[in-house]
């Protein structure tokens, strides 16, 4: 770097910067009296020196190094540790001597009665959530896309339950759905309608949980779908108007197919969210009555932090991971939208 160039210090640094901005890389000329190794070394040294002189290098380093350390400790590390843990009988007092047990943890999990119930509940939860959420959120977002005034206000109000803490919402619904003194049943009594026992009845508890989840999550899906609908070019609707199609045909043959990407995204998000349901059933019902609303993640939590069986909990979690992975891949492959614009 300390060559005898005629340039002054200042102008050379300007030239350096310009070269660096332009991304010019100067390749060292071959020097015949040096061996190949030495040339390579010199080349590397020059490349390193060049990199060190780039201001981007230090800033990039300052950003990337702490990030990578954090990811190694709190993200990659735990993910990688989960795999061996699932194959061990984890001893909390002496983790270093936890014996390998092969697939025993998985065998235990798959044979467990409570796991089967919780897996069944979780799948039922997801299916119910789909059948409630998708049509409802589509309907509301089509309404939103069709009104010309007050859209932002409507959206802000419909979105409100999304931002409010799930724990508070769960307590709120436990309160108003109380079979004896809850407002909903008192209202139904006034109208002399049948009064279901909502969360305290084995038959209705799961459906009630899903209804509450739909109430809370509706705004999220509506906002995404409305953005998707408004993103469809107006010309297509104008053309359809000229052709004289009715409201339903417009929805069925324009909106729905062109919303493919957005619907796919929502489907994946909803499925992944439902399979990991924990807070709502934990606060609403503690999994009860009986095991009517016991979900898969509650099983994992119980195994890990109440039974202190870390290996079994992690094995169950890995099974969930596998299912989520398969569902995601299947959905992306099968539900590929046929139309786009």
């Amino acid at each position: 770097m300390h060559g005898t160039s005629g340039l002054s210090e200042r102008s050379r640094s300007v030239a350096d910067k310009e070269r660096l901005v332009a991304g010019v890389v100067d390749i060292p000329r071959a020097e015949p009296w040096r061996s190949g190794g030495a040339i390579a070394l010199a080349r590397i040294r020059r490349a390193v020196q060049k990199a060190l002189h780039k201001p981007q290098f230090w800033f990039g380093l300052a950003v990337l190094v702490p990030s990578l350390i954090w990811y190694a400790v709190f993200s990659f590390g735990p993910i990688l540790q989960a795999f061996p843990m699932a194959f061990r009988y984890y001893k909390i007092v002496d983790p270093a001597h936890s014996p390998w047990v092969g697939f025993d943890n998985f065998r235990f999990v798959l044979g467990d009665q409570l796991l089967r119930i919780s897996a069944k509940n979780t799948v039922t939860w997801a299916v119910l959530a789909f059948t409630l959420m998708l049509p409802l959120s589509l309907f509301v977002s089509v309404c939103l896309a069709n009104v010309s005034r007050g859209r932002n206000l409507y959206q802000a109000v419909i979105f409100l339950p999304v931002v409010v803490s799930l724990v508070a919402v769960s307590l709120l619904f436990r309160m108003i759905l109380d079979p004896e003194i809850g407002q909903v049943n008192r209202l139904l009594a006034m109208l002399s309608l049948p009064q279901p026992r909502w969360l305290s009845d084995t038959r209705t508890a799961l459906l009630t949980c899903v209804l509450i989840g739909t109430w809370k999550g509706l705004g999220f899906h509506v906002v995404i779908l409305t953005a998707g609908i408004l993103n469809i070019p107006a010309e297509i609707y104008d053309a359809a108007l000229v052709d004289g199609v009715n409201e339903w045909q417009r929805f069925r043959h324009i909106t729905l197919p062109l919303l493919g990407h957005t619907l796919l995204l929502i489907t994946v998000l909803l499925a992944i969210g439902c399979l990991q349901e924990f807070t709502a059933p934990f606060v609403l019902t503690e999994g009860g009555p009986g095991t009517a609303t016991y979900t898969y993640n509650m099983f994992i939590y119980k195994e890990a932090f109440q039974q202190m069986r870390f290996g079994i909990a992690t094995a169950a979690a890995l099974l969930q991971f596998a299912v989520i992975l398969v569902i995601t891949v299947l959905q992306l492959k099968l539900l590929r939208p046929q139309w786009s614009y």
Partner: protein, 286 residues
């Protein structure tokens, strides 16, 4: 200006269009009512006394009382939990937004060996459900001596892969010419980042900050695992505890829930469009 005058906003709509919109408006108003009425019930319940809550048929409390709030604040350690929640949510949000923007900038505008691969690896961590890392992450936090410390729920939130992804998406739309011009003018990289990139990225950063705050304020499972002594707990844990502490004392539940909901509603009142636009944006991009 010409575009605006070509499309007059205050054009009178034909009557048929207005009539066709009545249906959607009615549906939307019903929808809005259903999302507000439960909160109103909760609000009213929080000012009733227990006897009235059980027997009263009126919508408004007959006797307004602040006793429920007094009980929650004095008996349940609520102020400490509130302070913990505020400290955790704010510190996580501030750090997470900064790290996400810096990493997003580096991934969008720098060229280095293995960049795309590294980014793919980072993104793939989003696919892993939280339950998989629950136990190993707990053990890691325990090894660092952060169990039952507020730090245990703060340090795990400093980086957010979703945030990095979102900020990278935005940073790619910033013209490289602006950054190059600043470099030629002799601005260092930190200065470019803080005085050029951050002001341009303020809208997505605000959206990310609102997400981050909301997420942390509501987070339940991880604090439940990490924090167990009463003076370390956060608001959602305390509120969930009311369930067993005051069985069916709904007026106390309502007061506690109101207290936990108010900060989020306050943030939302000012930033609702950031929330909504941010979510709508992430839906269109994916």
């Amino acid at each position: 200006m010409e575009v605006a005058s070509a499309r007059p906003g205050r054009r009178r709509r034909p009557l048929s269009t207005t009539l066709a919109q009545i249906g959607p408006h009615v549906a939307l108003i019903l929808c809005c009512c259903s999302s507000i009425v439960p909160f109103l019930w909760m609000f009213m319940a929080s000012f009733r006394n227990y006897k009235e809550l059980v027997t009263s048929r009126s919508f408004f409390p007959q006797v307004w009382t602040l006793k429920n709030y007094q009980d929650i604040i004095l008996r349940v350690n609520f102020p400490v939990a509130f302070k913990n929640s505020v400290v955790a949510a704010i510190s996580v949000t501030v750090v997470m937004v900064l790290t996400s923007s810096a990493l997003g900038f580096v991934f969008a505008k720098y060229r280095f060996w293995g960049k795309e691969q590294l980014f793919t690896i980072l993104l793939s961590t989003m696919m892993v459900p939280f339950a998989v890392v629950l136990v190993p992450l707990y053990l890691t936090v325990a090894r660092l001596g952060l169990v039952n410390q507020l730090g245990g729920i703060i340090v795990t939130g400093f980086w957010s892969t979703f945030g990095v992804f979102m900020m990278r998406q935005f940073m790619e739309t910033i013209p490289t010419e602006i950054i190059d011009a600043a470099r030629i003018d002799g601005a260092g990289e930190p200065r470019i980042f803080f005085t050029i990139v951050i002001p341009m990225a303020s809208a997505p950063m605000a959206a990310l900050a609102t997400f981050g705050f909301m997420d942390n304020w509501d987070s339940f499972l991880w604090p439940l695992v990490v924090l167990n002594s009463p003076n370390k707990q956060t608001v959602p844990l305390i509120i969930a505890g009311l369930r067993s502490l005051y069985w069916t004392r709904y007026e106390l539940w309502a007061a506690g829930s109101m207290l936990s909901v108010v900060p989020i509603m306050a943030v939302y009142a000012f930033a609702s469009q950031y929330f909504i636009r941010g979510i709508a944006m992430s839906g269109l991009k994916a």
